[in-house]
Structures are given as C-alpha cells and as structure tokens.
C-alpha cells in the first residue's frame, strides 16, 4: 500500500514502530499533492518549511504525534493565510492559532496546508470559492460538496491523512458523503469555535474529516473540551471517543425518521441507505420508525437564522483593521461600501442582504422571531425521538455529487441540498457521515453517504455505532482512480 493511502491510525503505528518518520509522511503527501492536486484543486497553500521543521521535531508518542492535518481556510493558524476563500481577506495573515489548532499541536499534530471552501462557508458545492475550483476526486467534472469541499476532497484523494472542516448546516457531513470519507459534526459547544471565522455563531461547529471512524474518534479526542475563549463551549467532561469502538450492537436501537425517506431522493441513494439499515439489523441493532414532524421547515428556518447571524458577523469586514480596502476612497462611507462590494462574492452578498432584511424593523417578528420559535419545535422533535432510540439513521444527502455548474444561478435549489443535515445544527446534536456504497451515474462511480445523528454529547456512542457498520462493510477501503 502506498504511504499516502494509509489511515491516520495505520500511519501512527508505523511511526511508533520506527518503520516511518513524520518527514516520510510529509514527503509522501507532497508527492501525492504534486501528482493529483492540479486536477483536484483542494489545496490553496502549503507551509512546507514550517511543517518540515515541526515534523523533524515531532514526538510520535503523543496522541497525534507527527500527523499532518489539513486545515479549512476558515480556521486561523498563526503565520498562515486565512481567507475564508474570499477576496476580502486576500493578503491577511493569521496572528494567532485557533483553539483547535493549539489543541492539535498539543497532541503532536502538524497543521499542514490550507484547503478550499465556499466563500465564508456559504454553499454546498465549493463553487462559491473566490479563489479556486475544487473537483470531486471520484469524477473531476463534479463538485466535492460544500462548504468544506477542499477538506473532503484532499482526504478522499489521499492528499491528507485527515483535515478539519466546519459545519453550519451540513458543511462537514455533506462533502464527506459526496467524496466518500468520514465527516463528524460534534455537538454544538463540544469543540471551541475560537479562531474559526464566524458565519452563523449559534450553528457553527468544527470537526474532522478522516478515512476511518477510528481516526475520527482520535482527532475528536484532541479537539474536544471547554475553552475559556469561547463562552458557548461546554464545560462537561471530555470522553475518550475511542472507548466504545469495537462494541457490538446488541440492544442498540436506531430510528428511521420517516420524513427523511421521501420522494425526490435519488433511488440509488435510497437503495444504498436501506441496504445499510438491513446491515445494521444483521449486526443486531433494532430498527424502529420515528417521526421528526417539523423536518420540512428546517431549511426555511435555517436560511433565516443563518443569514441573520451572518449579516451581523460579516459587518466587521469594513476595510479598517484587516483585509482588503478599496483603493482611494473619498470618504469613510465610500470606503465601507466599495470595500464590501468589491470584496464579497455573489452568494455572500445575497445572504447578507437576506439576513439584513429578516432582522430589519417591521420584519423581525415575522421572519426571525418566528424562525427561532420553529427552531424550538425542531429541537423538541429530536428530544422526543432520542427518548426512544440511541441514534437516528438516514441519508446524508438526497443525491450524489452533481456536475460543476449545474446549480449555479438557482440558490434555492442549492439550499435544498442540505435538507437532511440542517436540522442537526438547529437542534445542536452530533452527527456523522460515513460511506455506505456507490451510485453509478453516467459512467461514474459516485460515493453515497450514510448519516447517523446522536444525542448531544454522545459522540462516543455515535462513533461506536458508525464503527460497527464500517468494519462490516468494504466501502471505506475504496479509493478513487486518480
């Protein structure tokens, strides 16, 4: 097996037995990146020299000692660019490490490379990046999903052993599904958001992309925990997320939300997810039908709340303290307006306008307040369902990766791509996507993702349920032909 194809855990075993060094791993990644990234387009930049110095000094006895990890371009790493794939932050250099980066370093990992995304994490295809196009490694004419499309593509293409992304409405789980890797959105508050460029602060959460479920648990071990710099991070004990891996599924109850098995799902996605459910039954889990009656309102609630929060968060890009400033403004107002109008891309402007509108006087109650109330009902749906089951099982995305350009010009259609992932962000519970098969579309073999949603703070159980299925199926071993 090529070194670049190893899982994080397998790589670590070789570091510890002395058959490989962290510098070997960096060499292999750099080679792989030069061979395939011209076609995949996952990386925006690499900090080779710093990574090599850190690899040379790495302590492989640490939990992630010497493991290079790619970072979504929305998370600050001191000394690196952090553009959120936006023109407005071109030239910006991060002056501090995000808490997750500090924690990765404390666990011995090496932040390596910035990966592409939709501008300010707004999108489901990475086509909204102002900087670069990223392709799906399984079919280079198709999108990798989004917004963490680069994070998913580089792991799927064996250009990274693991990466970090962020999930506001599905931005980890959906690209993981479309690229055929494992993507975990932790419970809201489990991982600090300090140093993550904010999109929608009540929904954003950082999480890992990996090749296996075990790797996901190992990275979460490093990321989780209370952070005094993020007042919304939860002051609850951090589990060992590998603790329950390998446990059997006897006595485990999985709920099939009937609202997630509806007309309009790609038949091959539906078939793969139903086959996964039968596999769970064969492994001893009990499957019951549950209902999340407010599911059909989740996308509408999300596009009010997320855009409202974004319109406030993105007010800081005014050309005063950092980032781009328009040339030769005649006065302060012109500086603000031209900086923002020249610096933001189309989707970002659209969402700022929508968010400003739903918060504006006269419309606040009708849109924003009503959306917050329906958000309560969506949370209650999950609370009730989790009284009956250990986790929910459903598709991650109603479809497989679509062709580049197919959705541009139809924002509403693009928004509906997140129909199965958004509710978990509104409710705050944890969720994971893992490979569960392939769909054959026009001569391409495209990954299908299975989504498991868990109770808040029950990541250990969620990962163990995911692991049991993964280990009994071949999907995670498949690699794209590049």
């Amino acid at each position: 097996m090529d070194l670049h194809s190893l899982s994080l855990s397998a790589l670590q075993a070789q570091f510890r037995s002395g058959t490989l060094t962290p510098l070997d791993a960096l060499d292999a990644l750099e080679k792989r990146i030069s061979a395939v990234d011209g076609r995949v387009g996952g990386y925006l930049s690499l900090n080779r020299d710093r990574a090599r110095a850190e690899a040379a000094a790495a302590d492989v006895s640490l939990p992630l000692g010497g493991i290079p990890i790619a970072i979504k371009d929305v998370i600050n790493v001191q000394g690196d660019p952090c553009t959120a794939a936006s023109r407005i932050l071109q030239g910006y250099t991060a002056t501090y490490d995000a808490t997750v980066v500090r924690k990765l370093r404390a666990a011995g990992a090496i932040p390596f490379g910035r990966v592409n995304m939709d501008e300010f994490a707004m999108g489901s295809s990475t086509e909204n990046s102002a900087l670069q196009r990223t392709a799906n490694p399984w079919d280079l004419n198709r999108i990798p999903g989004g917004s963490s499309g680069g994070s998913a593509a580089v792991v799927a293409a064996d250009e990274a052993f693991a990466s970090l992304g962020s999930d506001t409405g599905g931005s980890i789980r959906q690209p993981a599904a479309l690229c055929g890797c494992v993507g975990l959105k932790p419970t809201y508050g489990r991982v600090s958001r300090f140093g993550l460029i904010a999109f929608a602060s009540s929904l954003d959460q950082i999480g890992p992309f990996t090749k296996t479920v075990e790797d996901s648990a190992r990275v979460l071990n490093a990321l989780a925990g209370k952070d005094p710099q993020d007042s919304t991070s939860l002051d609850l004990p951090v589990d060992d997320y590998t603790r329950l891996l390998g446990r059997d599924l006897k006595g485990v109850k999985l709920g099939m939300p009937k609202e997630y098995f509806i007309d309009g799902i790609d038949p091959q996605v539906d078939a793969a997810v139903r086959a996964a459910i039968r596999q769970y039954e064969a492994l001893g889990a009990e499957i019951v039908e549950v209902s999340l009656p407010h599911t059909e309102y989740a996308v509408a609630v999300y596009y009010i709340i997320a855009t409202a929060e974004a319109s406030a968060n993105l007010a800081r890009y005014d050309g005063v303290r950092f980032g781009k400033r328009a040339d030769d403004p005649r006065n302060l107002l012109e500086m603000y307006v031209r900086t923002r109008s020249e610096g933001f891309g189309e989707e970002v402007k659209r969402r700022i306008i929508l968010g400003t509108y739903v918060l504006s006087s006269g419309y606040y109650d009708a849109y924003y307040l009503r959306a917050q109330k329906v958000r309560t009902l969506i949370r209650q749906d999950f609370t009730k369902a989790f009284e009956k089951v250990d986790a929910l099982i459903c598709p991650t995305s109603p479809e497989v990766a679509f062709k580049i350009g197919d959705r541009s010009g139809d924002p509403l259609k693009m928004y509906l791509a997140d129909i199965f992932t958004i509710a978990a962000n509104l409710a705050g519970n944890c969720g994971i996507s893992l490979p569960c098969g392939f769909a054959n579309v026009e001569g391409s073999r495209l990954p299908v993702g299975l989504q498991l949603l868990g109770k808040p703070m029950e990541e250990a159980k969620l990962l163990s349920i995911a692991h049991a299925y993964e280990q009994s199926t071949p999907w995670h071993k498949e690699r794209p032909a590049l």
């Binding site: 919304t232 012109e334 923002r340 402007k349 509108y357």
Partner: protein
C-alpha cells in the same frame, strides 16, 4: 409575512452597492427564497419560546483582569493603513 423586500435599500443598510444586473438578479432570487420560507406561516407557534442557541448558557463571566495578548504591532500587522500605532481611515468630519 410580507415579502416587500427592496434589495437596493436593504443592500444600502448592509453597506453594499449593487450593480443594476446584481440588483435585478438578487431581487428575483431572494423573492423566490422568501416565497419558500413563507411556509413557516403554516406552523402554529403560539406559546412556543424562541431558541436563540441550542445550549442554554447564561451570563458567562470571567475575571476582569489583564492578559497577555496582541502587542500593538501584531494588532496592526494586517491593517490596510496604519501609522503611530493607529489605524488610518479617511477623514470622518469635514
């Protein structure tokens, strides 16, 4: 709910200036999105408390004490214009 979104006016509130082409395109796209979100009118929300946050944390305080943080040089290192440890902007008052 009313969908009297005027994109030009709302853009101004957000300190954005749209070209005619952008304004026309956004107006029609966002009217469509607002038409979609209007389905929330169907939901009975009487007596339902709003959720601003999935974690109900309140009044998170810390000691009001100074900490090691950015030096002025670091804080200014990304400034488009700076001098004398200050951010420079166009004249505000005539």
């Amino acid at each position: 709910m009313s969908a009297e979104l005027n994109v030009r006016h709302t853009a101004q509130l957000a300190r954005l200036e749209l070209t005619d082409a952008e304004a026309a395109k956004f107006q029609s796209q966002l009217n469509q999105v607002l038409g979609y979100v209007r389905k929330l009118e169907e939901v009975d929300v009487s007596g339902v408390e709003p959720t601003a946050h999935s974690n109900q944390v309140h009044n998170v305080f810390r000691e009001d004490a100074s900490r090691e943080w950015f030096t002025p040089e670091v804080a200014l290192s990304n400034a488009p214009r700076q001098a004398n440890q200050l951010f420079i902007v166009p004249k505000v008052l005539e």
